[in-house]
Subunit: 390 residues, 2 copies
């Protein structure tokens, strides 16, 4: 029997609501992955990704698998067995980076910060001082598990000053906040489609600097993954009209990505960032009017992902269940050591709209009132409205 999904409002950590223009593009007629028209689409998609990443990097393309594979693509192409990698960890995804490093047979030197805080530049400098021969510095720009952003500019600069490659996770960043690959001098950056691009999940934009691309071409050992070997992928996503078959591209997913990037370019990066900030500010006003607080310091907050402390005595899973069942509204649970301690409210891409902020705030208020939390009914939506009126 065919499956008909419910219509949700997606305000968790991703996927976000898919723009109807993107769903429509996704369903367009499939063409061959070596069709001349598809080659043209690939070229356009590369150019649009270069715009989104703010880079001139030639090796900029979507990996044909989710963000986790984008992460793995960066590590397996740049790191070899025996290498040392400095890995910053302040949430779930830094831990996953460590897994990637170790499965290559390389050594991960961990720089740990509390979950919900930004990466400490001092600690990274200390790690570089004690491991000056490290091959790379890897960190998460936008931590999806905590809602914190770290200073990618400074971290990439530290890496390049010390002759290390920088590997940057901005799965949740791209399109929602400034991702400035060339400005940062970042070497390998990966993202996801299902966050601030509001595209369907399943593929992962990546970009490699000329320095990283050279490192890949000059490898002495083969990349341990055939599927993710950029030396081979380059032959398919490369320049010119002659493309050598590597794997079958997810044709329809590329239609969707192309459409999502077209929407982003039409809006303009700066306008998209401003929209994410504006909706975040309104959400925060509503949350604070209910006595709720965000776990991240104001200056390090991701506007697109809000980790909210669960008030004492509240059954957080019941609240999420009620929002899903009563309002068809998804918000996210905490992950890892924040499980049970926070909700994660996403305002990403097409989900980042005033009507969603209003829906979230009013339904959350109803759920909290239902659990006997003391708050002034209506104060939250009043604060939201005031924020938008500013």
């Amino acid at each position: 029997m065919s499956f008909h999904p419910p219509v949700r409002t997606l305000m968790g950590p991703g996927p976000s609501d898919v723009n109807p223009r993107i769903s429509e593009a996704l369903a367009r007629p499939t063409i061959g992955h070596l069709d001349p028209m598809f080659i043209q689409l690939m070229d356009e998609t590369k150019a649009l990704l270069q715009y989104a990443f703010r880079t001139k990097n030639e090796l900029t393309l979507p990996v044909s698998a989710p963000g986790s594979a984008g992460m793995e693509a960066c590590f397996v192409n740049l790191i070899d067995a025996g290498d040392t990698v400095i890995v910053c960890q302040n949430g779930v995804f830094g831990m996953r980076m460590k897994e990637n490093v170790e499965r290559i047979g390389a050594q991960a030197v961990m720089v740990e910060d509390a979950w919900g805080t930004a990466i400490s530049i001092d600690k990274v400098e200390a790690a570089i001082a004690t491991h000056p021969d490290a091959k790379a510095l890897a960190f998460v720009h936008a931590e999806t598990s905590t809602g914190v952003q770290s200073n990618a500019q400074t971290l990439c600069q530290l890496a390049s000053e010390n002759n290390m490659l920088s590997i940057v996770d901005t799965v949740t960043g791209l399109g929602g906040i400034n991702v400035d690959v060339d400005g940062w001098g970042a070497d390998a950056v990966y993202s996801g489609t299902q966050k601030c691009l509001s595209c369907v999940p399943g593929i992962s934009p990546v970009t490699f600097s000329p320095r990283a691309q050279a490192a890949i071409k000059e490898r002495k050992t083969p990349v341990q993954s055939w599927f993710l070997d950029m030396n081979l992928v380059m032959g398919y996503w490369g320049e010119g009209t002659q493309r050598s078959y590597h794997h079958t591209a997810p044709v329809n997913a590329i239609y969707a990505l192309h459409e999502s990037l077209t929407i982003l370019k039409d809006e303009g990066l700066e306008n998209s960032w401003a929209r994410h900030t504006s909706n975040h500010t309104a959400l925060k006003a509503g949350l604070e009017a209910m006595g709720l607080s965000l776990i991240v310091n104001e200056q390090d907050r991701l506007p697109q992902l809000n980790a909210v402390s669960i008030p004492d005595g509240v059954d957080e899973a019941l609240v999420r269940k009620q929002l899903l069942e009563d309002y068809s509204l998804e918000i996210g649970a905490g992950l890892g050591q924040l499980a049970g301690k926070v909700w994660r409210i996403g305002l990403m891409g097409y989900s980042s709209r005033p009507e969603n902020v209003r829906l979230c705030i009013t339904s959350l208020e109803a759920a909290l009132l239902g659990q006997g939390v003391e708050l002034t009914p209506g104060a939250a939506i009043t604060a939201v409205n005031a924020s938008y009126a500013d």
Copy 2:
């Protein structure tokens, strides 16, 4: 600017034409990858894949990436550095298996057969005799590069009798010919969605026998790919309602796969195989009436993928270009050592229809006449009609 693909008829080696029911399912509203409704969809999809693969294997699921990643998932989970794997090669994909084995640090013992011929059982027996300690026997059931099928039943039996795991590529097989995972006693089998399932490209159904699953659980070293580690993927695609987050599933692609498998089940496996055979027979009649021949012996032919010899003096690329430009019809080029020597005409899934056979035969006739090939105009379509009338 939005991209609007041309409407093609896809009769290459894949992707095949996507059934409109599947495109429509693909565009349904995205829900969260941990939504209770998505968990239900995952369970239904597993059950449908078990039907398609003819297996009771619990570890049956779609890998969130194309068939090449499905291949890699089988190898990296079952093979360790230092292992020996007997790899049969009679086309492009056996060569890719060798790449996979070697990138794990294992040794590939190659059993080579001419491209376009089935795997020689005698040669495999000889390789097993000289390498009795091999961990696995890997082979391609349905070679997409040549259109040949090999005897999976006998090969899997040889593997299990000799205490080896069997790893089977049936990317092009599933849904088009008999794939009988439990009947064969196969241990690890992977396929693709964009061939006889007529779904969009991008994900790869896999299934592991209880013996293979035990081997994965008992590994002493971590799987070299975090993304493809079935020990972790099992936690997400496993039993019960509690699913642990691993990566974000390609939600909409799973809608499409579910729909494609529902269509297959509604038609029935045997009916689908019979349809593929019937259209193949008609195509073959038309080709032969034009003096063209298939490169594979009759008993080893894949009905869904027909490798046709290029007649002397014909500019094969020009023919493909004309079919694409004049009829919006895609047929495939030769791959690897068959490049320039064959066309590959796919009749897979929704593409396997009498109207497509007629379109292909009549447009191919026009293109060949245009290049001065001597043939009797109209003879080919007459032969096609006669085949269907039988």
